[in-house]
């Protein structure tokens, strides 16, 4: 059963805070939930389906359902790291399409900036790889750096090309008053910033912020009653990549498969896409996604991102017009949610006028969760204007 056209994003809300030391994590979930529901013209009493990541406080979503007083017929706290919000859009659309729920709420909230819990996965129990990877000092930036280094070796990608991705994000972020980093940077400033994990510099890395976001999905007949431009779910795909027992290709992601599935379900082509929200934990994450989703051939991501290709409104493929995780926010160490929210803004013509893509009809949001190179969730959604 295809989800195409069966569900609509009726509400979206991004927490404006970037440092929230005086709020509990459940409170952040609640604030974004209320924000997204208000955006849709709905309330908590309307929600009968709830989705969150496994990092939500308590036992999956059960504690949050209690905290919010939700009356649920459907709940899903499956996890794919920061890509799980694309995944949950697909899962929620499927639940709506099969009649399991009619109003689905998806929330994200976290405080990695003002608490000491900065290492993702630490709360997830004892992982089987712990004594074969972290024991050697494998950290998030180093694992992504391994992919970047190998991509440079195989394809001749340069630090300057990766820097173009940060530059585009910063050009957009200057218009976002909530963005953590609003200064427009140059390629030279990126490549001259300190090395974090070679070849990745500090400015190749995303910001760490508190905050969160939420989405509300509704069935088509509910969407028709709402006084709101809704965004149609057209396609979804997800794929998990891993070490394959040590035989992994670290320059290719599961985006190849999640993207193909999403495009197949939506029945649209790469050339039809007006805007992309791409997970940007690091600049290399964006480059690999562009290649693996098919916006350029494998190995040519470096050339693709040159010459302002990602800059809105004049670039060939505008991306992350809120500044993305590279400049705006990366709440809870998870960047998937905000990529979808900005795609919704674009499709509703509600992005900042300086970065709004003219006549934005079709958008793609893609997440890369977990740890590139070793164990990685990938999820892609294709969204369209209400009549798409």
């Amino acid at each position: 059963m295809s989800i195409k056209g069966k569900a609509f994003i009726a509400g979206a809300y991004e927490h404006p805070g970037r440092e929230l030391p005086d709020k509990s994590i459940p409170q952040i979930h609640a604030e974004v939930a209320l924000g997204a529901l208000a955006d849709a013209g709905l309330g908590l009493a309307d929600v009968d389906g709830y989705f969150c990541g496994a990092d939500a406080p308590g036992l999956g979503g059960l504690a949050m359902a209690d905290y919010l007083g939700l009356n649920l017929r459907h709940m899903d706290s499956s996890d794919m790291g920061g890509s799980v919000y694309m995944s949950h859009v697909g899962h929620a659309a499927a639940a709506i399409a099969s009649g399991k729920c009619r109003v689905a709420l998806i929330t994200l909230g976290g405080r990695p900036r003002t608490t000491s819990l900065r290492a993702p996965g630490q709360l997830m129990g004892e992982p089987p790889e712990k004594y074969f990877e972290p024991i050697f000092g494998a950290n998030v930036s180093a694992l992504y750096a391994l992919a970047a280094q190998r991509h440079m070796y195989e394809y001749g990608t340069t630090s300057e090309q990766l820097a173009e991705i940060k530059v585009a994000a910063s050009v957009h972020a200057q218009y976002n008053e909530n963005a953590m980093l609003r200064k427009v940077v140059t390629v030279e400033e990126v490549v001259n910033s300190p090395i974090v994990s070679s070849p990745l510099h500090r400015l190749d890395c995303c910001v760490v912020t508190d905050g969160g976001g939420a989405l509300v999905l509704v069935a088509d007949d509910i969407a028709a009653t709402l006084d709101r431009h809704c965004v149609k779910i057209l396609g979804h795909g997800e794929a998990v990549e891993h070490t394959r027992g040590g035989w992994q290709d670290i320059t290719t992601t599961g985006g190849v498969r999640s993207g193909a599935d999403a495009f197949g379900e939506a029945g649209v082509s790469r050339a039809d896409i007006d805007y992309v929200g791409l997970y940007d934990s690091f600049t290399i994450t964006v480059l690999l996604a562009l290649e693996d989703l098919g916006f350029c051939p494998k190995g040519e991501g470096g050339k693709f991102v040159q010459d302002g290709a990602l800059q809105s409104p004049n670039g060939r493929l505008p991306f992350n017009t809120d500044g993305g995780s590279l400049c705006n926010n990366h709440p809870a160490n998870r960047g998937g949610m905000t990529k979808i929210i900005e795609a919704v803004r674009q499709l509703r013509n509600e992005a900042h006028p300086a970065v709004q893509v003219p006549d934005c009809e079709l958008a793609l949001a893609h997440g890369t969760g977990g740890w590139l190179s070793t164990r990685m969730g990938n999820a892609t959604v294709i969204l369209g204007r209400e009549g798409a």
Partner: protein, 140 residues
């Protein structure tokens, strides 16, 4: 820069990893080979990640490989939080599988992808030694 003074956390031993870690104390790097598909695999586990057979047998690897990718990282966490900069690498073993490890006894600036490396074992004070790698110095 020396990378020989890295932290060496003690591994926690699971039943399926016990033979791997016991061998490290004897200076041996064990891999598993699948008796059905024939492929060597890393890290040790109960089921073949390629064909899903449970017919996995330990064998001693040569301990040689090449650098598939590497990074000099300054942002260690957990036991490595105060380690300074160190080399994290993915080494492609001669038997095929790649493993996350460190390159030690090297000048990081001299490393390159494709470089030949060999295993060395760092004592942890626990029931296993950490398999790290160093560049092979060729006779001239």
């Amino acid at each position: 820069m020396s990378t020989t003074e890295l932290p060496s956390p003690k591994p926690e031993i699971q039943p399926e990893t016990a033979s791997f870690w016991a061998a490290t104390l004897e200076g041996k790097l064990l891999l598993q080979r699948c008796s059905d598909c024939g492929r060597a695999g890393y890290y040790p586990r109960f089921v073949c990640a390629n064909c899903h057979s449970t017919g996995l047998d330990d064998f001693e690897a040569t301990g040689r490989g090449t650098i598939y990718s590497y990074t000099v990282t300054t942002r260690g966490i957990l036991e490595y939080a105060t380690a300074g900069s160190y080399v994290l690498a993915m080494v492609a073993l001669d038997e095929g599988p790649k493993m996350i490890t460190n390159i030690v006894e090297c000048e990081p600036a001299d490393l390159h992808i494709g470089q030949t490396v060999e295993v060395v074992f760092a004592a942890t004070g626990g029931a296993g030694a950490l398999p790290r790698f160093r560049p092979v110095i060729r006779d001239v």
